[in-house]
């Protein structure tokens, strides 16, 4: 099921249910400014990142999720899901987006955190 996206008063947009994302997996949210990857860890934490690897723009949502990291499918950079920062010694970051859970419903803000210039 694709979710209907609804925005509530605080700028939070409902994007779907926890179970829409496989454990240790990710889905894509299409936006006018480009794709956002939304990730689910083994512990059911949910994170959202600009779906572009800081290295060569690979779609992070297609990578393998492990711990709180995702490995880009193109050249195996590891990106921290919580900060969007690449794991050293690689340098760079993917913009991260606030996520809020209400029960099993996922809300996203499309105002990126100030963590990196690559919004």
């Amino acid at each position: 099921m694709q979710a209907a996206t609804t925005k509530n008063a605080q700028g939070w947009i409902e994007v779907g249910q926890l179970d829409d994302i496989p454990k240790l997996g990710a889905r894509v949210i299409k936006t006018e400014e480009g794709d956002i990857g939304i990730f689910r860890t083994a512990e059911d934490e949910v994170f959202a990142l600009r779906d572009e690897c800081p290295h060569k723009g690979g779609p992070l949502s297609q990578g393998i999720v492990h711990g709180k990291k995702v490995t880009c499918p193109l050249h195996n950079w590891n990106i921290n899901l919580d900060s969007g920062e690449a794991v050293a010694p690689d340098e760079g970051c993917a913009a991260s987006f606030p996520v809020r859970m209400e029960g099993t419903t996922i809300y996203l803000s499309i105002v990126a955190e100030e963590n990196c210039p690559n919004k």
Partner: protein
């Protein structure tokens, strides 16, 4: 509260252990380090380039004082520990500083051996061990002319070369008749001596020093035969002795070194020892690589982690004299049970000798061109049976003819702008400066920092050669048995065996059952584990799609822009007008950007989005086409020629045979991609001799060839055997594929696997042992029952729908919409 760890010795071994420990468990100990030298930690093996002036001291510092601060390690530098009180568990330094310990690590290294001759304490007599010695030599070189180096071993020759670079006239005095007799045989030693003499070094061989003569400082050296030579500087470089005085006086059992067990503990289990001061299984070491291996095991044990054991090291040597290439490893002298394989080309200055016993390399000596030293060293440590390659082994691995590097194999002679890694565009200069600036010591480090050799791996040999050349011969080679990845200490083989023995049937079970160090593994081990599970348990094993690389998860090949390709199977390279029509229709309907004939005799459609995949598959599926698995570690294609049906030279029906092979094997998962071919005659138009499994039809039947590769490293197949009938071809094909599936490591193609296990082994298993061959073939067919469902048809019907559709679409102005 954290326990207290005290480290005596601020050198490479002690700090490496601390570093490994911090990596595993940074909070396990409060760490205090005592160092007799007034510096942070520096790379002692790089003292030679400091002496020659090729490097400054600052460049070889590996841990400056800030490092100790950042890692909350207390450093007492310039303080020599003089007493270990094992009852009160504390150490006392010369200035009275004390520190208590719960665990103690002795890493006191070694002392240079000073020959007990009169005059040994005169001014101007030095050893070559630390920065203090190097400074003394550099100072002397500024004011004086004549240097005598006593000792024609590795250290002595490096000292002599350095002093000569500093403008001194240098004589090397050696007790024996040949140089570096512990590392080189007579021939290589002779070549080395000639080359060093050409550069201006003088040698006095078979000379026994009797006295060093001088009033205040050294003036002459006198030998047993009465001759004397002038000397303003004498460097004693005759060897090292483990520095075990402190341990000995503290009542810790010592023989030639501090005696340790396989977990690096001394006879007092609270007290550990690592590095040059230890004696392990009767052996003492004076090189860096063993010390790193010890550090790892010791840190693991300190952190109460894992079951690592140090089982001794086989070492290799390389002389750090610019422009001189020599390599030696293992037992290169041999005995009555060994034989020598020798290649000698005096005018090119190339010499190679391998000492072989029972078809296994026991030792190697190389002079002139040492690029294959790493390969021989691997064969030595892996105890590989070389009977299949004896004829060619002296010519090297020829890995440097790999595609992407031309034939440029003289890595040392390359310019800094020469491209080493063709995949990631990394030049020699980038790699060398990363190695020196970031103090990289392993191939893994170089990969992480530069990306060189991290994609296709064809330049691995070149990168290793650069690493060896830049940091000196005793760089940290990859351990003999490599753990799968950083998530475990187990090797691929260990893990495979455990999956079968312990009946582990999901990736999660494997990680839990084998005490994985990370919660969910990593992108390296998870796909491997998933493959091992489904190949061991084709029926019950859980295929974990989240552990599969994206291509195998969505059954299409991800392209650089995030789009995908679709390549339907064309059995044996054949197609029909109807299939072509459907492909053309699909290409038009979906505005396919590129239609391309692949190297595997089929047609690829490129530039499709994920959402387009299921509807396209539905159309192809309706026309009877299935996934070509062009994206998978799986059976790819079976290439054929038209065989005797059309060709005037054809001897058998290679086309039909190819189709049968493909029908039998499609859908199977393999450790790496797997390609086959069937050619109708020895003209071999289907290029069967560069495939994983190739059939060449001949008039009398079929030749079977295995282990070929046409990619990065071209490897022609090895001939397996000839058979008479098509049925036999199919049986051998199934058996060979199955043994490869069961035994190769994930991401290891048949070519390197075959080289690792040896063709003879494979022949024993499937040519000579008919029963096992039939058993393997039966296992293969059993597994295929669960694999031959077309993944495209399933997904066209809605399987894994979430993989192909966005979870949501947010429109401009954040309007609520239905995606």
């Amino acid at each position: 509260m954290a326990e207290k760890l005290v480290v005596i010795g601020n050198g490479m071994a002690g700090i490496r252990t601390v570093e490994e420990l911090l990596k595993i468990d940074p909070l396990a100990f409060d760490i205090t380090v005592f160092g007799a030298e007034p510096y942070g930690n520096y790379n002692r093996i790089m003292l030679s380039p400091v002496l020659t002036g090729e490097k400054a001291f600052e460049e070889i510092v590996t841990h400056d004082e800030q490092w100790y601060v950042d890692n909350a390690v207390s450093l007492y530098k310039g303080k020599e520990v003089t007493e270990i009180d094992r009852v009160k568990r504390r150490v006392i330094a010369s200035d009275g500083t004390t520190a208590e310990y719960d665990r103690l690590l002795i890493a006191t290294g070694s002392n240079p051996f000073v020959i007990p001759v009169p005059g040994k304490d005169l001014d101007g007599v030095v050893t070559f061990r630390d920065m203090h010695d190097v400074n003394a030599m550099l100072d002397t070189a500024k004011q004086h002319k004549h240097a005598v180096v006593i000792g024609g071993g590795l250290l002595g020759l490096e000292a002599a070369n350095g002093l000569m670079q500093q403008g001194m006239s240098v004589t090397v005095v050696h007790l024996m008749d040949t140089l570096m007799e512990r590392q080189l045989d007579d021939v290589a030693a002779g070549m080395l001596r000639a080359s060093l003499e050409e550069r201006g070094l003088n040698f006095l061989m078979g000379a026994q020093t009797e006295a060093i003569i001088g009033k205040d400082r050294v003036e002459k050296v006198r030998f047993k035969d009465g001759t004397e030579i002038y000397a303003d500087l004498v460097v004693m470089a005759v060897g090292i002795r483990p520095n075990m005085e402190l341990a000995k006086t503290s009542g810790i059992h010592c023989e030639r070194g501090v005696v340790v067990n396989d977990t690096l503990q001394t006879f007092d289990p609270r007290v550990y020892a690592v590095g040059e001061c230890v004696q392990h299984r009767g052996i003492t070491y004076g090189l860096v690589a063993p010390l790193f291996e010890m550090a790892k095991v010791c840190a693991n044990h300190l952190a109460k982690h894992g079951i690592g054991r140090y089982e001794g090291s086989v070492t290799s040597t390389k002389l750090k004299v610019t422009g001189i290439d020599l390599f030696s490893a293992g037992d290169f002298t041999g005995n009555e049970n060994t034989e020598d394989l020798i290649f000698q080309d005096a005018s090119s200055g190339v010499y190679r000798k391998l000492v072989v016993q029972d078809n296994k390399i026991k030792g190697a000596v190389m002079y002139g061109d040492t690029i294959d030293g790493i390969w021989y060293f691997d064969l030595l440590r892996d105890e590989t049976d070389i009977s299949d390659m004896r004829k060619n082994i002296l010519f090297g691995q020829a890995h440097l003819g790999d595609s992407g590097h031309g034939d440029d194999n003289r890595v040392i002679a390359m310019s800094d702008t020469a491209e080493i890694c063709g995949c990631n565009g990394v030049c020699k200069g980038d790699i060398v400066s990363a190695i020196t600036e970031k103090n990289l010591l392993t191939l893994e480090d170089v990969r992480a920092h530069t990306k060189a050799s991290s994609s296709c791996g064809s330049c691995t040999g070149l990168v290793e050669a650069l690493l060896a050349h830049t940091v000196g011969g005793d760089y940290s080679t990859a351990p003999h048995l490599k753990p799968m990845c950083a998530c475990t200490d187990m090797t691929h083989d260990d893990v495979r065996a455990a999956i079968t023995d312990k009946e582990l049937k999901t990736v999660r079970d494997v990680m839990t059952g084998l005490a994985w160090k990370t919660a969910d593994g990593c992108a390296k081990c998870r796909p491997a584990l998933n493959y091992y599970v489904i190949s061991a348990w084709p029926k019950e094993g859980l295929d974990d799609y989240q552990s599969r690389f994206i291509n195998e998860r969505v059954h299409a090949n991800i392209q650089k822009d995030g789009t995908y390709s679709v390549i339907p199977r064309m059995w044996g390279g054949g197609t029909t007008p109807q299939e072509l029509r459907v492909i053309a229709d699909v290409a038009e309907e979906y505005d396919v950007k590129t239609v391309h004939v692949t190297g595997g005799q089929r047609i690829g459609l490129y530039g499709l989005t994920k959402e387009q995949l299921p509807p396209i598959w539905k159309k192809l599926s309706a026309a009877g086409m299935v996934s070509g698995h062009a994206y998978g570690k799986a059976l790819r294609t079976v290439k054929t020629c038209v065989g005797k049906e059309w060709c005037r030279f054809g001897t058998q029906d290679s086309t039909r045979l190819g189709i049968e092979l493909e029908k039998m094997t499609w859908g199977s998962w393999t450790p790496h991609k797997y390609k086959m071919a069937a050619s109708g005659c020895p003209r071999n138009c289907a290029e069967a001799t560069i495939k994983d499994f190739g059939v060449v039809c001949v008039d009398s039947g079929y030749e079977l060839h295995v282990g070929g590769n046409g990619g990065i490293k071209v490897r022609v197949t090895d001939f397996l055997c000839s058979v008479k009938t098509e049925n036999e071809v199919l049986e051998y094909a199934a058996a060979f594929m199955q043994i490869y599936r069961q035994e190769a490591h994930y991401l290891e193609r048949t070519a390197p696997w075959l080289e690792r296990v040896g063709l003879s082994y494979v022949k024993e298993q499937i040519v000579e042992n008919e029963e096992y061959r039939k058993q393997l073939a039966a296992s293969f067919h059993e597994s295929q029952q669960y694999m031959q469902d077309d993944p495209w048809a399933e997904r066209a019907e809605g399987v894994d729908k979430h993989e192909f559709e966005p979870i949501a679409t947010i429109t401009l102005g954040n309007q609520a919409v239905t995606a």
